[in-house]
Amino acid sequence: MNETPAYTEFHPRWYRPRVSTYWWLWRWPYLKFIIRELSSLSVVSFVVMALLQLSALRRGPQAYAEFQELVKHPFLIALAAVSLFFVVFHAITWFNLTPSAMPVRVKGKRLPDFLVAAPNYVVWLVLSGAVAWVVLGG
């Protein structure tokens, strides 16, 4: 065969599916991921409230009493409850991802996942205990 074969590039019409805006709604792991990401807004709301509290504390007893009155509003109590739920969800989901991001090896063997995640919970409990001790007046 001396003839050089003439190839025609066959380019079929591919079907390119569009990803739905609601891709995260239909599978629990994806929904959990989106909740985990959105729960960072609750972390922001907690931080903002803590900063407002500190600012009131700095401005004196009168300002702090006003702040205490303000946070008794049912809307702010509901917001705090929802925020607490999502902050706990945020913390637990991130703590549980630690072993994947930071595998710890001891004598060449990878430590079991729960042993890597556990220190996060221990520090969390100790710090929460310390804060509760201070807040509740030692």
Partner: protein
């Protein structure tokens, strides 16, 4: 147990159809049959025009990845009986263009894979007479898990970031880059860093973690990416503090 099971299979003929549709087939429901066996039965006995990729039938070649009831699976390792009484919905791997029926287009993956130099890079090759590059079992352990990747692309079909951001290098490519970065014989980590520590490299990953869950070889691409984020951050700080230091 019923004698047969229904399979709703994606059909797409680019010359004829504007978009894919489903066609339902009945296949024998045998205890030892996997989804791939049912597809081969359909192709042999019912409709020879059904197109799909497969080769080894034993989870080595990575060709037969498809969506089975919405989850990325190797069809050679997915038993029909787990889905009884059915129907089982079989679709092409999501987030890839579809060429025909269950066949996807994978050039994008292959180009990205080649770009990260998935081979051992040496600054200078030893002469053959100098012998092999020796490695201790611990050194091999550092990358062995990532070397199990069979390029089946299930992780891409599980990654919404890849679905939404087409420039993202994707889980398998990043895990395979790590496979060579962590190999004591390799000296190409610096060359790969320029590609990997960009936005379309590791930083596009939002740690959904599904790539690791669907991987049939326990490669853990999500872990590889997060660990590389740590390495890249440390290197960035080092270059900031010691700009004179060699990469």
């Amino acid at each position: 147990m019923a004698d047969t099971i229904a399979l709703e299979v994606t059909r797409y003929c680019p010359e004829r159809d504007a978009e894919p549709s489903f066609q339902t087939f009945e296949a024998p429901l045998r205890k030892d049959w996997v989804v791939l066996d049912a597809l081969n039965y359909i192709k042999d006995k019912v409709d020879g025009s059904l197109s799909f990729r497969w080769s080894c039938r034993m989870g080595i070649c990575g060709s037969c990845g498809m969506m089975v009831n919405g989850e990325p699976k190797l069809t050679c390792a997915t038993f029909l009986s787990n889905y009884a009484p059915g129907p089982i919905r079989v679709q092409p791997l999501q987030y890839f263009p579809v060429v025909r029926d269950l066949v996807i287009e994978m050039t994008d993956f292959l180009n990205k894979l080649k770009a990260v130099k998935p081979w051992i890079v040496r600054r200078e090759e030893k002469p053959l007479s100098a012998g092999e590059y020796l490695q201790t079992p611990e050194q091999m352990d550092a990358y062995k898990q990532y070397s199990m990747c069979i390029n089946c692309m299930l992780c891409y079909a599980a990654c919404p970031v890849y679905g939404l951001e087409k420039h993202f290098k994707g889980p398998a490519v990043l895990a395979l880059a790590q496979r060579y970065n962590k190999d004591s014989r390799d000296q190409g980590a610096g060359e790969r860093t320029d590609l990997l520590s960009q936005e379309d490299g590791i930083w596009d990953c939002t740690f959904v973690g599904e790539c690791t869950k669907v991987c049939p070889k326990n490669v853990d691409p999500a872990g590889a990416i997060q660990q590389y984020k740590l390495t890249a951050t440390i290197e960035w700080f080092q270059s900031l503090l010691m700009p004179w230091g060699a990469k």
